[in-house]
């Protein structure tokens, strides 16, 4: 396999793995948020705000990986 082919392959794999990580992380986050707001409906507003902040932070880390994948795909040509 040529270097370009390996780079494209790894870019694709990397993007998929990054999405798995983000999906798992934000899924657990949403589950905890829903359970918390079901136990204490009065805290719904605070829980929702914290959930959005934590989701943005998790997504930030995921996008580090995506940037690496995009770099691989762009520079491999």
């Amino acid at each position: 396999m040529s270097a370009a082919a390996l780079a494209f392959l790894s870019a694709g794999f990397g993007a998929g793995l990054a999405v798995i990580g983000a999906g798992l992380g934000i899924g657990k986050l949403a589950a905890a948020a829903l359970e918390g707001s079901a136990r204490q409906p009065t805290a719904l507003g605070d829980i929702r705000t914290t959930m959005i902040i934590a989701a943005a932070l998790i997504e930030g880390v995921t996008l580090f990986a995506i940037v690496v994948c995009v770099l691989l795909a762009i520079k491999a040509g």
Binding site: A56, L57, E59, G60, F64, I66, V67, I74, G77
Partner: protein, 361 residues
């Protein structure tokens, strides 16, 4: 007309622009695409995509040029600002080209710089225009902006920095919030570009946060105590290991701020353009039936992400400033605890902030 149909029309116009840019009717358009494109895969598709999201030296607008109406007339910024380039694309001379000995510094305003200027101008016009009538009971647009500024002050500045010092940093935090918000939203307008999708812009914003954080920390505890924090409270013989690690830890937070904002803005645009580019990659117009609604969905997500990223940047900036200030006056108490983690530590230190409840985990 509903908002959804307006957005769909806007996306379809973007489609027309992408289509118009792909056919090289004019030689300078083709040269501009070739200068940007690196991989020739999928025809000119990746080049068109890169041309739309990266910085460039030309602005595009629909209008009257070369004697006919066109979807994409180009305004060459090099011509406007008088910069001449050689064949390799390097700037040779012009009022914006600075010669520093052997190297030349090309300061010609590019597309993203023009977009930042336009967004700042819009922000100034809207804010100054809405505060014309000062009254005790605010109305209209003034009311809306006062709500936002109040939100930034109460929920972000005072909650993270504390009541005593929070007001000192509100100007910077409000400026950062509104600037990032307006520049992010500007990128969603057809024919405009997202300046925060440029690593240099987000790096500059993160450097501002970094400088203000260190300035606030040094001002609060003095240079000596700040340097002592860099050693991390370990024995002297561990300093050669600890100090580089702590200095590195000092830079991870601005780095994370940079890449988070940059990648979020860039990824959204690339997804929208890729979805619309599927129509050309699969070479069938029926793909548009599925592709344009999906691109519309991602477009609405991008609207949401624009607000969230501005909020996250401002909130994390205030959190870092608050963590730096939290050591003010508490050094004696902290001496025996030592420091469990490198750098500015986790949000656990935030609980020492006077009068504020730590609502962030």
């Amino acid at each position: 007309m509903t908002a959804a149909s307006l957005v769909t029309i806007a996306l379809t116009l973007t489609l027309g622009q992408a289509h118009g840019a792909e056919t090289p009717e004019r030689p300078d358009a083709a040269v501009a695409h070739e200068a940007h494109g690196e991989g020739g895969h999928g025809g000119g598709l990746s080049e068109v995509l890169m041309h739309h999201v990266t910085d460039g030296h030309s602005l595009e607008y629909p209008g009257f040029c070369q004697g006919e109406l066109a979807w994409n007339c180009e305004l060459d910024l090099d011509e406007v600002f008088g910069t001449t380039r050689d064949d390799a694309g390097h700037a040779v001379s012009g009022p914006f080209v600075v010669q520093l000995g052997a190297t030349t510094l090309d300061m010609t305003p590019t597309k993203h710089v023009i977009m930042m200027w336009l967004a700042s101008l819009l922000l100034l016009v809207v804010l100054v225009g809405s505060v014309r009538r000062r009254s005790v009971v605010p109305r209209g647009l003034y009311n809306f902006f006062e709500t936002l500024v109040q939100f930034v002050r109460t929920e972000i500045a005072i909650k993270n920095i504390g009541e005593r010092d929070g007001d000192r940093f509100v100007p910077y935090l409000v400026s950062a919030f509104f600037f990032i918000l307006f520049v992010n939203l500007f990128g969603l307008i057809p024919y405009a570009a997202t300046a925060t999708g440029n690593l240099a812009v987000t790096l500059a914003l993160a450097v501002f946060t970094f400088l203000i954080t260190q300035y606030a920390a040094i001002r609060a505890m003095g240079v000596g105590a700040w340097l002592k924090h860099l050693t991390g409270g370990v024995a002297v013989w561990l300093w050669p290991i600890m100090i580089p690690v702590e200095i590195l830890g000092l830079f991870t937070k601005p780095f994370a701020l940079t890449v988070r904002l940059f990648a979020n803005m860039l990824a959204g645009h690339i997804v929208i353009l890729s979805l619309l580019g599927l129509i050309y990659a699969l070479n069938s117009q029926w793909v548009a039936l599925g592709s344009v609604p999906m691109a519309l969905g991602i477009f609405l997500l991008e609207l949401f992400v624009a607000f969230v990223q501005a909020y996250i940047f401002t909130m994390l900036s205030s959190l870092f400033i608050g963590q730096g200030l939290a050591h003010h006056g508490h050094d004696e108490a902290h001496g025996e605890h030592g420091h469990a983690e490198p750098g500015m530590g986790s949000a656990g230190h935030g609980s020492h902030v006077a009068g504020a409840s730590p609502g962030h985990g």
